[in-house]
Amino acid sequence: MCGRIAITGAGIVSALGTGLDETCRSLMENICPIAPPKHLKTIHSNLPCGEVDLSDAQLYDLCHEDRGRVLSRSSLLGIVAARQAQEDASLVPGDRVAFINGTTVGGMDITERYYKQYFQGSDYDALIPLHLDGVSTDAIADSLECDVVFTDVISTACSAAANAIAMGAELIESGRFDIVIAGGTECLSKYHLNGFNSLMILSQEPCRPFDAGRKGLNLGEGAAYIVLESKAHAKERGARIRAFLSGWGNTCDAYHQTASSPDGAGALEAMLKAIQVARLQPSDIDYVNAHGTGTENNDLSEGKALMSLFGDRMPYVGSTKCFTGHATSAAAGLEAVISILCLEHGFVPANLRFRTKDPGLDFSPVAEKKENIKLNHVLSNSFGFGGNDSSLIFSRAEL
């Protein structure tokens, strides 16, 4: 049943820029912002990242937040994106809204800066609670003008924002809320850059998803939210519908804490569930915005799952992490907004830097951008540590 959940607003901040227009332009013009970190203070200058090119101070100004009030970078990025989404959907005070946030890092950037001082005195006590994912989420909810009467935070690592969007869809379908803002936020921190580095899955060059010579992923950061509404509610208040969320699927690979199963069983199951919920056939999918991190393990496992699902009728497949880096818990939010832009503007972004087909896969991703095409359904994959695999399907508004 396509078109039951309307998407009436979207907001995004990532390495690609701030807002829908800048994001769309960067994707269309093949601008790759992956570069050594500039704002994150780390010794790992050899590890390129998809960093949002705004200092914390610039983010405070962009949010009109008082710099005396300490906020985690995740909250600041979240405020920028959530306010855009609210404005895009023309939500106003009095609108009763649920806010579902996907995040894992939360306020770790603050914790890692002040942790030692916390144990040396009481000067920084007020900052301690900022570590909590719920506190950084509430800071975003509090910054909105609409009445956020409900918040929830989902942390399934790299699929968190997808599961936040799915939870939002269930809240609407069950009639509990008419309007939900859902997505995710994640900032770069030394903690998670070093964590991924210790796993030896970070590439020292800009990543090359699905390429035979891929060397790992680049971390990214950002925040993105979409506004979900029942179709009836959106029509009743005359909201502009950008696209529909037509399917969502969640499974657990149950294979390994940090590796995907070789045959991509969990990934395949998540995609099948999403297609089933959308009441579509695999052949209806025009473009797969892949998880495509650029690690040896993910791309092979996801590729195998795509081959099982689509056989010799492979739709366009590409990863936009070659533009944004892997923004972990925010990734599915960024890719939801990018998928919506693709549906609205009829294009598929290039899977940058693809040169050589992986011998283990019998398809190649979209090496060059495709323009002026009609996309009806886009499937977006997000797979997290622990095998938390989720797929979302976005469909064109005019179907």
Binding site: D125, I128, F150, S155, N194, N250, T258, N388
Partner: protein
Amino acid sequence: MKRSPVYIKASSHICAQEPFSTLESFSPLPQDGAMVLCKDPDFRPFIPPMVSRRMNSIVKRSIAVSRHVLDKAGIQSPDAIISGTGIGCVGDTEVFLKQMLDNGENMLNPSRFICSTPNTIGSQIAIYLGSRGFNSTHVNDMFAFEGALLESVMLLQKGSVENVLLCAADQMTDGLYGLLDRDAFWKGIPVSEGAVGFVLSNSPGGVAVDDVMLTRSNPSWEVDRILRENSLEWKDIDAVVTSLLPGESSERFAFVPEGVQMLTYKQYCGQYFTASAFGLLYCGEVLQRRGKSGRILLASCNRGTYSFILTSSVCTN
């Protein structure tokens, strides 16, 4: 809109009380203790020692309580595993963070990082049980459990799944206690930890969860909605079980009319992020022993947000 209830088929806990114990043996925690840790069971019946040695305490407790509650419910592998945790595997997070701050950003051991994400709990349960169904983790501080319960209820009401393993767990460390102790919220009762598991089902039988919601708005509006949508009045509520600490003023629950019995549970489980899961277990224990039909509203409050869980039992005698 009145929705169909979901049913608690089994519940179990590992916390400051004797592991897996029931209402009769619950005893109040000593009021002078600052931190009271879990009473761990012998893990060998649940996890082979070779495997459990590599697990942190929160994952071990979560797997043990999950296996215990699934056995009680007679289910091998649940259709969905939904977890709630306020701060996840904080012990491993602290170790990795300290290594990074003390030794610089080099030569870090990945094993602590791998275990430090909150979804380690739910995914380790899934890996251990071989459950490839729905799997999600909610981390909304003091309301992490309520988020997980609400998602469980929605999936069951929709019929997407027939049963859910719901697990709520938090651990306490010396480091975390040292930081939380600065906040008034954590004073007045022992800070503790625990893992509570439920098997929920959409087939009737057992204590029912009739409604669950949290609100950042006016709590009395939300309670009124819950009563109205479930065709109830205050006189139908036998007791309100609150998140209040012993001796704490009940001012924040002033919307409960006089004459309604008020009960608390944190004297048994202490204060921790997902303590309200123990609160639901406590409601179930009380309802099961009434010998007649009954209704209990579980109400929690933190930083201006309230949660409400309406539970009931139908006496079949």
